[in-house]
């Protein structure tokens, strides 16, 4: 092994190639490749059922892949080093319900006992800001507090690599921001994070790089900024007319408007990817007036990862 290769291994937290997992006739993961660098916060973004959780559980060594190669922190699962590898991972699973009748502190202490090197209960409760709830039963916690406790149980092992599977799904905005703070602080300490989410805002806010996953494959990869930039324009204009059929014949004319980079028609609405809103909108209004189409809705926003997903798949993340 050359020196370059050794360094390469060292700088990589997770590498997987050609990952495949089938459940009966359903192919959950269909040949997925990922390379995640040490110290990076990497997001797997995709709709429900895209194969994110299956992928993560394969990487965590909890599910066996049907095909493909997985390397985590330079080790492979099932080679007799699993326990040593687990010492270095922090894992939060989607939908784990911790025991209701244990207190917060007891739960952390239980998880702490599994590791050779770990944070104290107080340290980790301070990190996730659950110190005032340390004596409360898990069953009495709010959804956000339960999720922070789940993350606390993942952090207690002083992990090098933290897996978070939809950590903020179903949480209110404030709880979500509290969890984001925890993740940001972990990263500041040099940790690597693999995060799955179907919230664009979360991925844009936290992740250095994002892989958009659909039907078990990576369909786009890059930093959130790069992905949005791949749309070719920074804004999206959505327009609807009173007569739902009026827009369809105009597709060519819409695409020819000044500053418009792309047009997508769906359910009587048009979604235009636009570089310069101040030029495109007056031209759009003029076009509609000229064709006698009555405007019923007009909205513009900055392009997001959601728009990238829509542009790639024709579907929205939430309803895909």
């Amino acid at each position: 092994m050359s020196a370059a290769e050794v360094r390469g291994t060292d700088a990589v937290a997770i590498r997987c190639r050609g990952l495949v997992k089938r459940y009966g006739d359903v192919t959950a993961v269909a040949g997925l490749d990922l390379t995640i660098a040490r110290g990076e916060c990497f997001g797997l973004l995709g709709p429900n059922g895209a194969g994110k959780t299956t992928t993560v559980e394969i990487l965590e060594g909890l599910t066996a892949a049907d095909a493909g190669d997985v390397e985590v922190l330079g080790a492979r699962w099932g080679r007799g080093t699993d326990r040593a590898l687990r010492e270095r991972l922090g894992i939060q699973l989607q939908e784990t319900q911790l025991a209701d009748k244990l207190t917060v502190a007891e739960t952390v202490q239980l998880f702490r006992s599994f590791y050779r090197d770990s944070h104290s209960v107080d340290e980790v409760l301070d990190t996730v800001q659950l110190q005032e709830k340390r004596g409360a039963w898990v069953g009495k916690l709010s959804g956000g507090q339960k999720q922070r406790l789940a993350v606390a149980c993942a952090l207690v092992s002083r992990p090098d690599l933290l897996f978070l599977d939809e950590p903020t799904t179903g949480l209110d905005p404030q709880s979500r921001r509290q969890l984001w703070d925890v993740i940001v602080r972990f990263r500041t300490g040099g940790g690597t994070v693999l995060l799955t989410t179907h919230y664009m805002e979360e991925a844009e806010r936290l992740c250095d790089r994002v892989a958009i996953v659909d039907h078990g494959r990576v369909i786009a990869l890059g930093s959130p900024r790069e992905l949005v930039a791949s749309l070719g324009a920074a804004h999206v204009v959505e327009v609807a007319t009173a007569d739902a059929t009026a827009l369809a014949p105009l597709e060519g004319a819409l695409a020819a408007l000044p500053g418009v980079r792309g047009v997508r028609l769906a359910a009587g609405r048009a979604s235009l990817t636009v570089a310069e809103v101040h030029r495109a909108v007056p031209a759009l209004l003029a076009l509609l007036a000229e064709r006698g189409a009555e405007l019923s809705d007009l909205a513009t926003h900055h392009a997001t990862l959601e728009d990238v997903f829509v542009a790639l798949t024709g579907r929205h993340l939430r309803d895909a």
């Binding site: 060594g61 784990t96 319900q97």
Partner: protein, 343 residues
């Protein structure tokens, strides 16, 4: 030490149990209530006089007078149709129709009626001047450990060990599985053996309380003592508890939902509740199913615990087991690998 995963896992099992008031009631309270209710309902009333009717008619006074000498008989004069009604309803064990010969009318399938026949015939013959060729002396003993509650407590103990062992382990495993807690544990470096041993440890700790409560209750309220050695009782309880925890784990090993495991548990436990002789002797079941009944784990546990309870008593008073059920108990004990108590 406190941070050892085995200790922490065991603590979490214990906490999960004692913080669940319902579980505490079903494991500790229910068997005691059951023992109390059944102990009261089937308490020993002592030897009661047999109810005997004499049909009113010629010579009835003479018969009543002849029977009046027996301590074992309660005699009343009855009109013929009234006497027939009482015999039919079991309020008298036997009806005497005076005359020559004296007629004893009774149902031969009823044990107390057959006793009454012997007593009445004996009383009549003695009163008429019979001399007994052999002198007989009666020596009365009261055998401890022959009451229904003495029979019941060992059975309840076995049933309790079965119930708490199986539910305690099976339910906890399945509920951890459905809550994805098992998966979460697997994602840590936790050793699986620690997880399993934590169940055994927590079972053993509860066992002490379970056995002590029930045996203590039996002792204080019904004077059912441990006649054998405490060490044997402890050993049997531990063996029984571990065996049923193992069965619980087996039952829970494939069940995906709490509903499924409840059904499976009942499927496994119900035959043992009915057949294993907790509430009445399993000798009452037909010979054909006896091999099945004896193969049930609860039968073995109940018989060994019961055998141990009565062994020392038997040794002290030197009374040989009289009933068939009793001698079976001895046989079973040796079959269960505890043959040291053979008399």
């Amino acid at each position: 030490m406190r941070d050892h995963p085995l200790i922490q896992l065991t603590l979490s099992q214990l906490r999960g149990f004692y913080r669940e008031p319902e579980a505490v009631f079903w494991v500790f309270g229910f068997p005691i209530l059951l023992a109390f209710a059944l102990g009261i309902a089937f308490r020993s009333r002592g030897a009661e006089a047999l109810q005997v009717g004499v049909v009113a008619g010629a010579g009835d006074s003479a018969v009543v007078a002849m029977l009046g000498g027996s301590r074992h008989l309660a005699v009343q004069r009855l009109a013929p149709d009234e006497g027939q009604r009482r015999l039919a309803s079991g309020r008298v064990a036997l009806l005497v129709v005076p005359g020559d010969p004296v007629t004893l009318r009774y149902d031969s399938t009823r044990t107390e009626s057959r006793l009454a026949v012997l007593e009445v015939a004996d009383a009549l013959q003695r009163a008429a001047g019979r001399r007994d060729p052999v002198a007989v002396q009666e020596q009365r003993v009261t055998e401890r450990g022959s009451r229904y509650i003495d029979f019941l407590i060992p059975g309840l103990l076995g049933m309790n060990l079965m119930g708490s062992g199986m539910w305690g382990v099976g339910f906890a495993v399945v509920s951890a599985r459905t809550k994805k807690l098992l998966k979460r544990f697997l994602a840590t470096p936790m050793r699986r053996s620690h997880y399993l041993f934590s169940f055994m440890l927590s079972r053993l700790l509860f066992l002490v309380i379970e056995v002590a409560t029930l045996v203590g209750f039996g002792w204080l309220v019904f004077d059912v003592g441990v006649r054998g050695s405490i060490a044997t009782l402890v050993l049997l309880s531990v063996l029984g508890s571990l065996a049923f925890s193992g069965i619980g784990l087996l039952v829970a090993s494939r069940a995906k939902t709490v509903e499924a495991v409840s059904g499976l548990m009942n499927l496994v436990m119900l035959p043992m509740w009915v057949l294993s002789g907790t509430f009445f002797s399993y000798a009452r079941f037909p010979d054909a199913i006896q091999p099945v009944v004896r193969a049930l784990p609860l039968t073995a546990l109940k018989l060994t615990v019961a055998g141990d309870q009565s062994r020392k008593l038997a040794g002290v008073t030197a009374i040989r087991p009289r009933s068939g059920c009793r001698s079976k108990r001895v046989t079973m004990r040796s079959a269960a690998g505890n043959g040291s108590g053979r008399r």
